[in-house]
Symmetry: C2
Subunit: 375 residues, 2 copies
């Protein structure tokens, strides 16, 4: 397979703490319901999983936001629950209610049945990665992703989304042995899943710990962080072309644990939601590490509140500048590594976002961050 050379490597460089001309930007859930063209494709696909499991549709919607906005990365269009679905838990989408598993994992027998799924069951995902990579033709890098072991477990044990995480926390506090077993299986499955995405052409990988922030201090480190670390420990460092594959970990609500993540995760970039000041986060990353490591976080990703996109254009631009100012002047030394910044939302974009507002955000990030570098 011969692929076109990458024309825009800002995102990859920033993840690795290398200097860039402007601050790169992409948006979590950038291919999604706020785009009328996405809604059209989804209507043709018939259902969400019909969309996610069809290589052509997945390729089409992944590229849609790039046609509208000068974004600096693409992210695989897929569902966060593909791995537990491949484990045989029976994923379905109930209209207006979100995902549901037919077989929630709540007792010893159900836990004992869990195993790392045959990656062949996830072939449709890897085929989509290869197809998207080809369709991108080197415009921007492609990010692969997975839910974190803890986040997948939340859905597997709750059986659906949850407001209080009562079932999984009951399992965790009452039967930590079973909880650890679920998380071990998940971690090993996620590692295989991400490595296969890298083999198929993903140029960066991201672990979404969307529900890590619901855990108590102490429980987060034991039941989420430790298993994200276990995933990272098994990941390939380079793709088929020999290029380094940056790793990003995003923990919603994880600002308080940034120092823990920085010490324990072999990743390149840490994603933050909007509750954490980026300047304060940068200071955490700039502190000398407790121990030298091959891979340690050297970049931050985030963190504007997606609700800013409901405001008028001038307010959106002002808030974008505020986030860039919070991070501070990016380093510009081409020969050195520093702390990189990838601009993003602090959470997925809302389906109610006016698409034209996104253009103002992307434009302001590029324009203002260029001025910041000029000093």
């Amino acid at each position: 397979m011969s692929l076109a050379p990458l024309q825009n490597d800002r995102f990859l460089r920033a993840c690795l703490g290398q200097a860039t001309d402007v601050t790169p930007i992409w948006l979590m859930r950038q291919a999604g319901r706020y785009l009328p063209e996405y809604r059209d494709t989804r209507a043709r696909a018939g259902s969400f999983m019909g969309l996610a499991t069809n290589v052509d549709y997945a390729t089409e919607v992944t590229l849609q936001p790039l046609e509208r906005f000068p974004l600096d990365a693409a992210i695989l269009f897929s569902d966060i629950l593909t791995v537990p679905d491949a484990m045989g838990l029976g994923l379905s989408f109930v209209h207006g209610e979100g995902p549901k598993f037919e077989h929630a994992v709540r007792d010893e027998a159900a836990v004992a049945r869990l195993a790392v799924p045959d990656m062949d069951k996830l072939r449709y995902v890897f085929d989509a990665v290869a197809s998207i990579r080809k369709a991108l033709a080197g415009r921007v890098p492609l990010i692969g992703f997975s839910g974190s072991p803890w986040t997948l477990a939340c859905y597997m044990v709750e059986g659906s989304g949850s407001k209080d995480y009562r079932h999984i926390k009951t399992l965790m506090y009452a039967r930590p042995d079973l909880m650890h077993r679920v998380l071990q299986v998940n971690a090993d499955a996620v590692a295989q899943y991400l490595n296969a995405q890298v083999d198929a052409g993903a140029q960066a990988v991201m672990v979404f710990d969307s529900w890590g922030g619901v855990l108590a201090d102490g429980a987060f480190q034991a039941f989420s962080l430790a298993y994200t670390a276990r995933v990272l420990g098994q990941l390939k460092r380079t793709g088929a072309d020999g290029a380094v594959v940056p790793r990003i970990v995003f923990t919603k609500g994880g600002g308080l644990w940034l120092a823990d993540m920085r010490e324990q995760l072999a990743c390149d970039s840490l994603g933050l939601d909007w509750t954490m000041d980026l300047g304060r986060a940068r200071q955490v990353l700039e502190q000398p590490p407790a121990a030298a490591r091959d891979i340690a976080p050297t970049a931050l990703q985030g963190n504007i509140d997606p609700n800013v996109l409901f405001a008028p254009p001038e307010a959106i631009r002002a808030e974008a500048r505020r986030v860039l100012d919070a991070f501070g002047r990016p380093h510009t030394d081409a020969a050195a590594r520093g702390i990189g910044h990838v601009f993003n939302l602090g959470h997925g974009i809302s389906q109610f976002t006016p698409p034209e507002h996104v253009l103002h955000l992307v434009d302001e990030v590029h324009a203002y961050s260029r001025r910041l570098r000029a000093g």
Copy 2:
């Protein structure tokens, strides 16, 4: 009015950083649906507001948990939305959906109509405070409460609970002038409301900033913290009997802003959810203040995950010890002030909690914290 002397002042002392024999404990939402006797009273009352607006019922349910558990404080049974209801927004409770306002506040005209309500419309709350205080007969102190200006505004603008706070954040980012006006009215209303509770006999007051944690860094300080500070600036320091009335502020998801709260809030105690390590929080409070103040936080309240109560008794007790150990050995110098600790949940107790499990928590907190002090 002559009231019985207080027999258990642990809670009030701990709020003020004074030494106590054991760590006092009470539970957010301790009078609630997890208690069968509460469900019985509510059935007799016919509806939630029928319960909250009737002095006899409110008194009855406030005292119910004290009959079961040796708790160290009682908290007024009331609804968090009484103040916006008194503003004429038309509160109702839709079965299975929670509170709804008929008139959501979303435009300039609606904001212009807002005013501090006549406190006579809230007479039923103050009557309940007086009745509960009398019924308590000095067993434990009574805490009065209100939602924070920001949290009340969330309900007023969204019109109901929300998953994404889209409407209020749109107002905040698009029309900050209107948002500030809503918050000013709310702050002044909340201050009058809490002062009237103190006049009626509340021995401590608590501000629940349940939704402060959904704000971005920067927005939290401008739109939540500043208005909680405005409330505190207007509060009476002592009750009718001349006793100091401790002030507690609880911000769900506010751990990252603890230093800001500590510098800017004229309160005695800061409540924390379970994401923050109590030892780390104690260190924040122990740092020398930037400027000397009459009232500054000298106590922490929290912070066990309420889901721990679904675990078996031995696990509940182990987690209780873990939270007490995180705070560390309490100070025991009767002549000095230090950092106090009031044990609590990090959020309201779940309606699904087995009541008998609560007894294990309360017992372990008292027993283990006594041992911690001894040794």
